[in-house]
């Protein structure tokens, strides 16, 4: 596994300039998690509307490039989407990282697909799997909170 496959341009970009960072206004749900191994932290805020759509979401956190990029990519991918989409994409993502499975959901744009699969290199680095999946697990706990 080449390092440049793990640290792709997209990941470095999201890691350095994470999107949707901060606490979004009027959030209805939130959840946080941390990785005791390395001290990575993530806190996800989201605003669910009546139609069970994520109207807005954001995150606060600190950590490695992989964990920040993953959280940032997550916010871009699920913003404005409904819960059924979110559950599927989240399952797909975790399956891709943990079990080296392909993304099956077909409603992603080619751009979204490229972005989300940029993290697939993590598959080859078992000690880094949690860095990539933590934000996605946290998103699901935030949703389940209410």
């Amino acid at each position: 596994m080449e390092l440049k496959e793990l640290y792709q341009e997209i990941i470095l970009d999201h890691g350095k300039n994470p999107r949707n960072k901060g606490k979004c206004e009027g959030f209805t749900n939130d959840a946080k998690a941390h990785n005791t191994l390395c001290g990575d932290k993530v806190h996800i805020y989201l605003k669910l509307n009546k139609d069970k759509k994520i109207e807005d979401l954001s995150f606060e956190g600190e950590g490695c490039a992989i964990s920040l990029a993953s959280a940032s990519i997550l916010t871009e991918t699920v913003k404005g989407k409904d819960l059924s989409f979110i559950t599927r994409v989240s399952d797909d993502f975790i399956n891709m990282i943990k079990n080296k499975k392909k993304i099956t959901i077909n409603s992603l744009t080619p751009d979204q697909m490229t972005t989300i699969t940029s993290l697939s290199g993590v598959q080859e680095f078992p000690m880094r799997v949690k860095c990539a999946t933590m934000a996605w697990h946290t998103l699901m706990s935030a949703i389940e909170k209410k």
């Binding site: 390092l3 640290y7 350095k16 950590g63």
Partner: protein, 405 residues
């Protein structure tokens, strides 16, 4: 034995990691094992193994003699006065838990103070926390200064007439600070306060003489001293061995067991409940022989030379920030690289065969104080050399290249 060719004594270095020679810079976490230790473990299991201190058959006698001979060996190595002062544990962590539990049970009451430092590993803080939550004891932290040292005056300042025990690290596993333990013990003696030293990082890198240090308790981690995993040694001054209640209950630590009462064994035996590690204890003698053959002072000066070389090399890189600048530094080099998280550093270094640790190194209190969540740590053992530092330095540059910073 020559340090120059010492890597040959460690079979682990025969392999390549990611196609590169292994540069093992994680000895503060756990050291690699020389062949003599590995061989002793299998040889003991093949020829002499039995449980110790129980049966009377031939193998039991052989194993027991072998086991107890190591107690004498350790006594001599650390210059303890009595063999009963040597207690085998499953690690330095258990040694500290033992003291916190047994000493705490008898001597710690509500409002009593336990003095630790901000440098402590979680294993020299969490066990004392139990006494805080169960007995209402107070834990006081001697502060670390901007160099990453804890000065004797700071310790002096924190001692009050409520201080019941001082528990301090010998060498910090993050800043590398070597604490003035002898001075601290002298200071404590004036006030009649017992001192526990967490020697996890101290013992592998320094000459430890219990008579010179004069502490009451000294906890050792054998797997950081080229010895086997799952073994620790707690040195406990005789007066405490006689005075403190047992730690865990079980076989081997009793005198008489009746339905309505139990009396306990005396001396170290009361602290060694259940079947003890046997091959581990037996093989640890080989680790001590290995250290003695080279000489701990030679090991320390070699490691220091490598460390100083590495520090100088890394200081030349403007993006590298070295954590702490203590007056005396043990074999630990913690650093951060501008705009690269330590976890990413560790992954990239690994691709070059360089094994380091990244994280808070079980020292969250210290990292909070430093205002950083994590650091990268290169730690040095007898098998490291200047070339390893060159490779580390180049690999750090590679991190910067990958991250384009």
């Amino acid at each position: 034995m020559e340090i120059k060719n010492i890597k040959k004594e460690f079979p682990i270095f025969k392999q390549k990691i990611n196609g590169k020679p292994l540069v093992y810079l994680d000895s503060a976490n756990s050291s690699q094992k020389p062949k003599v230790v590995i061989d002793k473990i299998s040889n003991f299991y093949e020829t002499e193994f039995s449980n110790v201190g129980r049966s009377v058959h031939t193998l039991a006698v052989k194993a027991t003699n072998r086991f107890e001979a190591v107690r004498d060996k350790v006594k001599q190595y650390i210059n303890a006065k009595h063999r009963e002062e040597i207690i085998f544990t499953k690690g330095a962590t258990e040694g500290i838990n033992l003291v916190a539990s047994s000493f705490g049970k008898k001597y710690i009451n509500k409002g009593d103070e336990i003095l630790v430092t901000e440098l402590e590993h979680h294993s020299n803080y969490v066990p004392w926390h139990y006494l805080r939550s169960e007995k209402g004891a107070v834990i006081k932290f001697a502060q670390v200064n901007s160099d990453g040292d804890v000065e004797i005056d700071e310790i002096k300042k924190q001692i009050t007439n409520k201080t019941k025990i001082i528990a301090i690290t010998h060498i910090s596993n993050v800043t590398g600070a070597v604490l003035p333990i002898t001075k601290i013990v002298d200071l404590a003696k004036e006030r009649n306060i017992p001192v526990l030293i967490d020697g996890t990082q101290g013992a592998p890198h320094s000459h430890i003489d219990m008579q010179k240090i004069g502490c009451d308790f000294y906890a050792i981690s054998c797997h950081k001293m080229y010895g086997p995993n799952g073994l620790g040694i707690l040195y406990m001054k005789k007066k405490w061995v006689d005075d403190l209640p047992p730690y865990q209950g079980g076989g081997g630590m009793i005198d008489e067991v009746k339905q309505d009462n139990i009396t306990f064994a005396e001396e170290h035996t009361k602290f060694e409940a259940g079947t003890m590690q046997t091959a581990e204890v037996v093989s640890f003698a080989e680790a001590l022989n290995f250290i003695e053959e080279i000489g701990i002072k030679n090991i320390a000066s070699h490691e220091n030379e490598v460390l100083e070389y590495g520090l100088e090399k890394l200081r030349k890189n403007n993006s590298v920030n070295i954590i702490g600048s203590p007056k005396n530094r043990g074999s630990v080099l913690c650093f951060t690289i501008k705009d690269i998280h330590p976890h990413d550093i560790a992954t990239i270094l690994d691709e070059d065969g360089v094994a380091i640790r990244a994280g808070h190194h079980c020292c969250q209190i210290l990292h909070d104080k430093l205002g950083i969540a994590a650091t990268a740590r290169a730690s040095i053992g007898v098998y490291n050399d200047k070339e390893d530092m060159d490779i580390l330095s180049e690999s750090i540059k590679n991190c910067q290249k990958v991250f384009q910073v």
